[in-house]
């Protein structure tokens, strides 16, 4: 019978996106996932881990290339009744009032006028928006808008709520209030929802909300680890067991990956997805690490909190520091290497030299660009040439971003120059 089937189930789900030259690019690699009744599951991972894509596959919005998703045993081929979603950018219809937005889902499934109105008003009251029924989304603050997003999802009485970074567009205080309100509704069983899957980039948030956390690997996305969170509610972020789990997640997020983050970066290719890190922030982080209270070594959760850096902002920086051999990460701690300390102690010009040396040695793409420019008679090459090479490995958008990153590093290191207008890389001026 139906009760034997899990609420939501994904079996060996893979997703491949087509690249311009028809070589598929794998973003999700054979994922298995089960959501049981009464569970809240959090998904954490860096950008490029395909966590949002995975959520959309669960929702039936994106078809998987391989594998299958089932909801209570029935295959999910398109969005199914019983699964509702809350979006990062709220996705409210600006031309509909709060009431209109909440009613829309009911209207679409043919709930009649009076009943529709009653249920919508109920959902609006439940989420704490009474009095704002006739307001337009643009009149509301971000937190209120997301409340509308929740009311709209809850009004259809979904079995499953899928949340795509629902709090990430909100400020810290607002996010916390809304999160707590949602957890209260869930704990007191005031909503009929039986399971929640949420994508987050905030580790503390995930530990606070989830019963189970999935950590996604990048390139391609896979489940690297699964961490149970056996803490009773309400959970206190200051308690030792809570901190322990947070540390555990940090460690997994920064060290897993088959040693790729070791101090010695092993052979990465030209098409390596360079982390999105600007030079200013890199040197800022190195300076911070060297100073008190860290003195060259820091606990990552603590660093993130005191420097007010989200995971999305911190991890690319840490990745880059490791890639360039400036720092070393193990067990949730980051420590400057000798080279990193040299860099921190140097003056501006010496810093540039150390940086240039590291980039040429550790970043194959930068070395490759420099080699091509050296070999060409005019020492000039259009950036499109390298963009095409990158597109063999990365999506168009990612290729553009990676090239921009390496151009930023190369310009700072004075390895090569770039002219924005003509989009040409060159060795001019040196």
């Amino acid at each position: 019978m139906a009760f034997a089937a899990p609420l939501l189930c994904a079996e060996t789900v893979s997703k491949t996106y087509k690249t311009p030259d028809h070589i598929g690019r794998l973003v999700l690699d054979r994922l298995d996932f089960t959501l049981e009744e009464g569970e809240i599951v959090g998904i954490l991972g860096q950008s490029g881990s395909g966590k949002s894509t995975f959520l959309r596959i669960l929702a039936g919005l994106v078809p998987p290339s391989e594998g299958r998703v089932s909801y209570r045993g029935a295959p999910v081929l398109a969005p199914v009744h019983g699964v509702a979603m809350v979006f990062q950018s709220f996705a409210l219809f600006p031309w509909l009032t709060v009431l209109g937005n909440v009613e829309l889902g009911l209207e679409a499934i043919g709930v009649a006028g009076g009943e529709r109105r009653r249920r919508a008003v109920e959902a609006i009251d439940l989420i704490g928006l009474d009095g704002f029924e006739s307001a337009y989304p643009k009149e509301l603050s971000g937190g209120m808008r997301q409340r509308v997003g929740f009311a709209r999802a809850l009004v259809v009485n979904p079995d499953i709520l899928l949340l795509d970074e629902p709090f990430s567009a909100l400020d810290v205080l607002t996010a916390e209030t809304l999160r707590n309100d949602l957890l209260d509704l869930w704990r007191e069983r005031r909503i009929p929802t039986k399971g929640i899957v949420f994508v987050s980039h905030n580790i503390e948030e995930a530990v606070e909300v989830a019963e189970r956390i999935l950590i996604f690997d990048s390139d391609p996305g896979r489940i690297r680890a699964e961490i149970p969170v056996p803490l009773t509610r309400p959970r206190s972020p200051e308690s030792a067991p809570f901190r322990h789990i947070v540390d555990q997640v940090y460690t997994l997020l920064t060290t897993g990956r088959g040693g790729r983050r070791g101090a010695k970066a092993e052979a990465i290719g030209i098409g390596y997805r360079l982390p999105d890190a600007g030079v200013q922030r890199l040197s800022g982080l190195i300076d911070t690490l060297l100073e008190a209270p860290y003195q060259g070594r820091a606990d990552l959760p603590q660093l993130a909190e005191s420097e007010n850096l989200s995971v999305d902002a911190l991890f690319p920086l840490i990745d880059t520091l490791q890639l360039l051999g400036f720092a070393h990460v193990s067990a949730g701690d980051i420590e400057l290497t000798a080279r990193g300390r040299d860099y921190a102690d140097a003056d501006i010009l010496a810093r540039k030299e150390i940086f240039a040396d590291s980039v040429l040695k550790q970043v194959p793409l930068a070395a490759h660009i420099r080699r091509v420019l050296d070999e060409r008679p005019g020492h000039r090459a259009p950036s499109a040439r390298f963009l095409r090479e990158l597109e063999d490995h990365l999506s168009e958008e990612e290729a553009r971003r990676v090239l921009d990153t390496v151009i930023g590093w190369g310009r700072h290191a004075e390895i090569f120059a770039y002219d924005y207008d003509s989009e040409v890389l060159s060795l001019e001026n040196f």
């Binding site: 959309r56 919005l61 078809p63 398109a78 979603m85 219809f93 031309w95 009431l99 006739s134 709209r152």
Partner: protein, 577 residues
């Protein structure tokens, strides 16, 4: 709390009771309906081909004529709207259709509308023998072609740029494709559609006036309206009648503005994700009447209910099929269709070439290209002159916010006013002072379109962040340096938009501006516009085709080689956000 034009939360029976706003709304509505009926009956009247229609210069006839002109405009507008909805949706939803429809639209956009008229009118007359409707249709079609492409492009762009998360939300909440179209895609498109419609109508007045006096194979057909009234006044050299017509036109445009576009623009603000800057601005009075009267409330509820019924009437199974098809489908058939498309395009091009070659010598074809060069030269010199005049003035106005607020509607109004009404005055002046028509006819081409430059420069200047201007002042940037480094780059994107519109309009206007009459005197300048106008007057299809094709080629070439590049440059480099 005030009532909004959304889904009112009000008890049912009370809503049937009319309120005081209905006192205003109902007479307006029924008066409007009566006028439409009256005009419609006139349009369907009996008509003997080539018999001149009774037309009188008596001012008492003017309101009636004005009404018929307005109705032509309204008919064309409705037609354009329907066409846009159909064409843009097809292009946005089907990749195959898109490949054909979008390039086609690009070409249609650059076809000189007035050159068309004489070809289409014969077809329409044949369609409704013995009725005036044929000629009316030809005129409406001409206005339609001046409006539809621009609106369609805007709608297509909007349909392609619906935010991904909104589409996902619509799918998650199981909106059917029909409902998704009306509840998501169309509302998303409304702000830019309304804006483009207003721009289209502004341009449309020019063509209304021009299309009411149609010359077919040497015969002139005058459709009762303001345009034909003026044409008659010109033929009779009646300055007083011209002045009266200009006055009536002024009133007509003012009414259109007050009753249609002010309310529409204010209303369309609710479809924007963020409130526009002048959110606190007063709502136009007519929008208030519409929003507060019970009559429109009921009408709206009725339309929404009807839409729901329609949605329910589409069987579920078919909907799901569409959904699944959309999710992923490719085939070898696509390539075959692509090849067929290329062949069809080549065949069409060849048949045009053959048709022209049959009636026109190679020598003349060369000369027409040379005429094209003359007209091009005129357009660009005029754009340059207009820019020299209007950019400083526009900047000066734009820097003063209160003045800019007052100036904007005035300039919009000037852009809407059909400049061809003033042509006779120019001819009279040229004759009076014995001026060289090669030079002095040219300004007519830009008379109506120069306002787009002014309009956009004002808007562009007003949008320059105050901090940027303060920073410039703080650095002591002044005089020529200020123009070169600060304000000109800052307004460049807006200026390009204005210049493109102005140039496009001037190309089109060349057909009526390069050859102008006053009474029995006709003066002309050599150029492509005059060539097309002459070929049209004598009814010479190969020459008309040649003229239109060459003009089309010039416009396309300049769009590709110049304007699009400037656009890209503006979008890429000089954006202010």
């Amino acid at each position: 709390m005030e009532e909004r034009w959304g889904l009112p939360i009000r008890a049912w029976p009370k809503r049937w009771r009319p309120n005081r706003w209905d006192l205003l709304a109902l007479p307006l509505v029924f008066g409007f309906l009566a006028l439409v009926l009256w005009g419609g009956m006139k349009m369907g009247a009996h008509y003997e081909l080539w018999h001149p229609l009774p037309l009188s210069l008596s001012p008492s006839h003017l309101p009636g004529y004005a009404l018929r002109t307005v109705l032509r405009m309204a008919a064309a507008l409705l037609l354009s709207l329907g066409f846009s909805l159909f064409y843009a949706t097809l292009a946005a939803k089907s990749r195959q259709a898109e490949k054909l429809l979008i390039p086609l639209l690009d070409i249609l956009q650059s076809v000189p509308i007035l050159g068309f008229l004489s070809i289409t009118v014969t077809g329409f007359i044949a369609l409704f023998p013995g009725r005036l409707l044929g000629v009316e249709c030809a005129a409406i079609f001409a206005i339609f072609t001046s409006q539809a492409w621009n609106m369609t492009f805007s709608l297509y762009q909007s349909l392609r740029t619906v935010p991904a998360e909104l589409v996902e939300a619509a799918r998650m909440f199981h909106l059917s494709p029909w409902r998704r179209f009306w509840r998501l895609e169309v509302p998303h498109a409304i702000p830019s559609l309304v804006w483009n419609t207003m721009m289209s109508v502004s341009g449309g007045w020019f063509f209304v006036v021009a299309s009411e006096a149609i010359t077919v194979s040497g015969h002139q057909i005058l459709l009762p309206g303001i345009g034909s009234y003026i044409a008659l006044a010109i033929a009779r050299r009646d300055l007083e009648a011209i002045a009266e017509a200009v006055l009536v036109m002024l009133v007509v445009i003012l009414l259109y503005d007050q009753l249609l576009f002010r309310p529409l623009i204010a209303w369309s603000a609710r479809f924007q994700p963020e409130p526009p800057e002048e959110a606190g601005a007063l709502r136009p009075w007519f929008l208030l009447v519409l929003q507060r009267s019970r009559f429109f409330d009921l009408l709206q509820t009725g339309i929404l209910a009807l839409n729901r019924k329609l949605d329910a009437a589409i069987p579920r199974s078919r909907r799901q099929k569409e959904e699944r098809l959309a999710s992923g489908r490719k085939g070898g058939l696509e390539r075959l269709l692509d090849i067929a498309l290329v062949f069809a395009a080549a065949a069409a091009a060849l048949s045009i070439i053959l048709f022209i070659a049959k009636g026109v010598s190679a020598d003349e074809i060369g000369r027409v290209f040379l005429y094209g060069l003359f007209t091009t030269l005129r357009v660009f010199v005029l754009i340059a002159v207009a820019s020299l005049v209007w950019v400083p003035i526009g900047v000066a106005i734009g820097l003063r916010p209160r003045l800019a607020d007052k100036a904007q509607p005035v300039v919009q109004f000037l852009a809407a006013f059909p400049a061809n009404l003033f042509f006779p005055a120019a001819v009279a002046a040229i004759l009076e002072f014995h001026l060289n028509p090669q030079i002095w006819l040219s300004p007519l081409m830009i008379l109506g379109t120069q306002w787009y430059i002014l309009f956009n420069v004002i808007a562009g200047t007003a949008a320059v962040p105050l901090e940027l201007r303060l920073a410039a002042r703080n650095l002591g940037v002044r005089g020529f340096l200020w123009w070169r480094r600060i304000i000109l780059p800052a307004i460049f994107p807006a200026y390009v938009t204005g210049a493109v519109t102005a140039a496009g309009g001037s190309w089109n206007a060349s057909i009526v501006a390069e050859i102008v009459s006053w009474g029995h005197t006709t003066i002309s300048a050599s150029g492509l516009g005059a060539y097309i106008a002459r070929a049209t007057a004598v009814g010479d299809p190969p020459r008309i085709a040649l003229g239109i094709t060459v003009l089309c080629l010039y416009v396309l070439a300049f769009n590709r080689l110049l304007w699009r590049r400037l656009y890209d440059l503006a979008a890429e480099r000089l954006r202010l956000d």
